[in-house]
């Protein structure tokens, strides 16, 4: 049988289609539940554009996306950063953007990699709770149309002003615990678009009126009462601000719903699992395809060498000449650790040692495919690490845990001999609170809004920005805003005031 990919080949459309088919075949062999793939070929400029619009082919327009594009463009064309071979998004079907400059074996590896991502998007509970793969593209389409209408009617500057303010709060505008999966099918899109017509338009055109209690649809669930503390800042502003127009409220709602969709991604809670699944699937499919003759020897060797640099993990004080790379590579490479943990799960199922039997008794002798499926569906990074990072893997990868001290140097806190300590420290690093500060709405009495920041590990906020964000909130709510600091040990004290 003639292989699909021979060494030295360039890709063509037919080849991509065939590769997609065998990718599907082997993913089903693994038993992973996944979304079908929609492969789109893009040029490098388009790929740069996709970076700045979070891998969506269309999104509403904003200058910050342009700024990100200009920065990425400069970094890429001055050689400081490379481009990913692909980028994909958790929609159904899974959109997979391949670069046209990949050669045949790169395209093959990319397609198999995205099958892994697609399995993760389809099975993992975080995505099922927060994102809505079927309706995401429809909702974004609606968002884009609505914002365009607002720009035409109320002016570009006005809309930009509201979007700037909403963007600054978007990482703090998700429902982490109270989840209400809105039925977006019930959103009557024509009703929403009518917000900007005739009668409402006249009312909205004047400076915003102070309403006693704003009146708008309640399709978000039972969150109409002022119940504090509130973690979702934009939700609070949308429902309780006395000074916003209807269209401004809708824009805020759009930003926070899109933030909720991308919550698993921006909170950094599932990067290791996503990349681990993807790498594992990719390696598995590549191996099986090579065994069955679809990929020939030369291409397979090329693939192996290409893989080695993706999986490279730097040590904490290694320096490269490229300053951007050296800082980012110090952190744990998610591809590296994800793949190793997944492979370790398989090993613990097939050939457990005594130590493994003590560490994870459920895995010993179980079907590794079932175990992996279970891991992908029910765990996020933090729980994944706590459950599956085995002592033998810690020893094999020679991991250690360092913390910064007062001089700005690092101190080694636990080396591979203190397994539990290291595992817990690593798991804690992959929680939401380690990446995004916990700022929530605390008290509100109509004239004064109090926010509180619960300190984590003694960290401070980036102060120059805090004052600006508080001004934004003050504009949106029409009242004074205070930010209080506190922690679990100390009572809260006033730190910032507008």
């Amino acid at each position: 049988m003639k292989p699909i990919v021979q060494s030295g080949d360039q890709w063509n459309m037919e080849m991509l289609s065939k590769l997609s088919d065998i990718g599907e075949k082997y993913t089903n062999e693994l038993g992973f539940n996944h979304f079908p793939l929609q492969i789109e070929i893009v040029s490098p400029q388009q790929m740069l554009g996709l970076y700045s619009s979070s891998a969506l082919p269309y999104m509403y327009n904003h200058w910050s996306f342009g700024k990100q594009y200009a920065q990425e463009y400069k970094e890429f064309f001055s050689g400081m950063k490379g481009l990913a071979y692909e980028i994909c998004k958790d929609t159904n079907p899974c959109l997979c953007f391949n670069m046209e400059t990949n050669n045949a074996i790169e395209q093959a590896s990319v397609i198999f990699h995205v099958y892994g991502h697609s399995s993760h998007f389809a099975s993992n509970y975080l995505y099922q709770e927060n994102s809505n793969s079927d309706l995401m593209l429809n909702y974004i389409d609606y968002a884009r149309k609505f914002i365009k209408q607002c720009e035409d009617k109320f002016g570009l500057d006005q809309v930009e002003r509201v979007l700037d303010m909403a963007h600054s709060l978007q990482y703090h505008s998700v429902n982490k615990y109270k989840k209400v999966k809105a039925n977006y099918e019930e959103i009557n899109l024509s009703r929403e678009l009518n917000l900007v017509t005739s009668r409402d338009y006249v009312l909205d055109r004047l400076s915003p009126l102070k309403h006693a209690k704003p009146d708008y649809g309640n399709d978000d669930g039972e969150r109409d009462d002022v119940s504090l503390p509130e973690e979702n800042i934009l939700l609070f502003i949308e429902k309780h601000s006395p000074v916003l127009c209807k269209w401004e409220r809708e824009v805020i709602r759009i930003v926070r719903i899109l933030a909720q969709f991308s919550y698993p991604h921006f909170s950094g809670q599932s990067q290791i699992m996503a990349e681990g699944t993807a790498m594992f699937t990719e390696c598995y499919i590549m191996e099986r395809a090579h065994d069955d003759g679809y990929i020939d020897e030369g291409s397979y060797l090329e693939y192996l060498s290409m893989n080695s640099w993706v999986l490279y993990q730097m040590e904490v004080n290694s320096k490269t000449k490229n300053p951007i790379q050296s800082l980012q590579n110090i952190r744990m490479n998610p591809y590296f650790i994800g793949l190793h943990i997944m492979r370790d799960i398989k090993r613990m199922c097939l050939e457990p040692t005594l130590e493994d039997k003590k560490f994870a008794p459920d895995l010993a002798g179980a079907d590794w495919k079932v175990a992996l499926r279970d891991a992908i569906s029910n765990f996020k990074d933090e729980s994944f690490i706590r459950q599956f990072l085995s002592p033998s893997l810690i020893r094999k990868l020679k991991l250690m845990h360092v913390v910064n001290n007062e001089d700005g140097d690092f101190e080694v806190k636990s080396d591979a001999e203190h397994y539990n300590q290291l595992r817990n420290a690593f798991a804690d690093m992959n929680t939401v609170i380690d990446k995004i500060p916990n700022v929530e709405v605390w008290k509100y009495d109509g004239d004064n809004l109090k926010l509180r920041y619960t300190q984590y590990r003694g960290r401070d906020l980036h102060r120059p920005y805090v004052t600006k964000v508080l001004k934004y909130i003050s504009t949106l709510m029409g009242c004074d805003v205070q930010l209080w600091y506190g922690s679990n040990d100390t009572p809260y004290w006033l730190e910032f005031n507008t």
Partner: protein, 370 residues
């Protein structure tokens, strides 16, 4: 069956976003505007405890200290990574956007740019006329089509009517002959290309950049002078065509150098500003009177009183010939007293500024040329 779509032809949305970004960039540069290029938010920063997991257990054990150079940069890169917020670290980042300088320069101009060196003529195309030499075929044929249609239509209608009524053959043939005789091109159709003479003024600029290269000017001070000069060169090259640059490096003697040496050569010695002033005067005299001449001098003014008197008289004499003399005190350790005495000249062609550090260069540049 996998779906494969070729999106390369469809294009993407980035042009609109780029346009909005440049618009925002321009707004942020105009004074008194609240537009900013920063993306605000609640991020971690400053003090606190941060962890890293990394391989290396074969080299270190618990309690060891690893030295690390740039913890601040590391913190800032953390800020970007976790939340995906891609903000630059302060204004330094913004400076490097390719469009930033263009947006900046569009609002600035050279002072007193009065001298017009020559008045040139240029011939440009400007539309059509009914007389002339060069025929424009497109227009001519368009007119002829219109005329023919207008003349033929009633005849053709009549012909159709006759055919319906089964008129005698002779009448039909006569009418067809008439239709054929409508001329293809008429004199009134012809159009010619029209050319105009346009008069424009060309201005010539001479810029003399002078840098103090004495021992008191350290690396930082020279860097300030070079950054400012670089901005001036870029600004002028962008806006004006006929420009000449002259470079002077002076210690106790003044040397005329070329651009490469101005930026790269390292010399040292004492400081005699008057030698530089003399050399500047000499260069100015070399060029004709219809050049717009500008002189920029960067120094830390670490000079003797006698030297100061000589330089001051030299500069005042030079002000008759130049369109602008700009004196910049570079470096926070510059001799402010001598500087104030030297620059106590009240003349519309004389300007001065005090640049303390590298970060001030851009602001001073904007102030100088607004």
């Amino acid at each position: 069956m996998g779906i494969v779509i070729d999106r390369r032809r469809i294009g993407n949305n980035t042009d609109v976003n780029l346009y909005r970004f440049y618009r925002r960039l321009k707004d942020s540069l105009s004074p008194g505007s609240f537009a900013t290029l920063h993306e605000y938010g609640f991020y971690y920063g400053g003090d606190g405890e941060y962890s890293i997991i990394s391989p290396g257990n074969d080299k270190w054990m618990q309690g060891d200290i690893i030295e690390f150079d740039n913890f601040i940069d590391f913190l800032e890169s953390l800020m970007q990574q976790g939340t995906g917020g891609n903000d630059g670290n302060g204004d330094g980042e913004l400076f490097e956007h390719p469009e930033y300088l263009n947006a900046l320069f569009s609002n600035l101009k050279m002072p007193n740019l009065d001298k017009i060196s020559s008045i040139d003529e240029e011939i440009v195309r400007s539309g059509y006329s009914t007389t002339g030499g060069v025929v424009d075929f497109m227009r001519t044929f368009q007119n002829s089509i219109g005329r023919r249609a207008a003349l033929k239509k009633p005849l053709e209608d009549e012909l159709a009517l006759l055919k319906e009524q089964n008129a005698p053959q002779s009448e039909i043939e006569a009418l067809e002959e008439k239709i054929k005789k409508v001329p293809f091109i008429d004199e009134n159709d012809v159009r010619y290309k029209r050319y105009d003479k346009v008069i424009y003024e060309s201005k010539k600029l001479l810029i003399i950049l002078t840098m103090d290269a004495s021992g008191s000017m350290g690396y930082e001070e020279r860097n300030i002078a070079k950054l400012f000069s670089d901005l001036v060169i870029r600004f002028i090259s962008k806006h004006y065509d006929n420009v000449a640059f002259e470079y002077i490096l002076f210690t106790s003697e003044a040397h005329r150098v070329d651009g490469n040496n101005f930026f790269n050569q390292v010399i040292s010695g004492g400081t005699y500003l008057s030698t530089a002033v003399d050399l500047q005067q000499q260069i100015i005299d070399e060029y004709d009177a219809d050049w717009n001449k500008y002189v920029l001098t960067f120094s830390d003014t670490d000079i003797l009183d006698s030297d100061l008197q000589d330089s001051k008289t030299g500069i005042i004499k030079m002000l008759k010939d130049v369109q602008g003399y700009i004196y910049c005190l570079t470096g926070s350790m510059g001799n402010e007293e001598q500087y104030t005495r030297l620059t106590a000249i009240n003349n519309k062609f004389f300007r001065k500024c005090f640049i303390k550090t590298e970060d001030d260069v851009l602001n001073e540049f904007i102030k100088m040329f607004s």
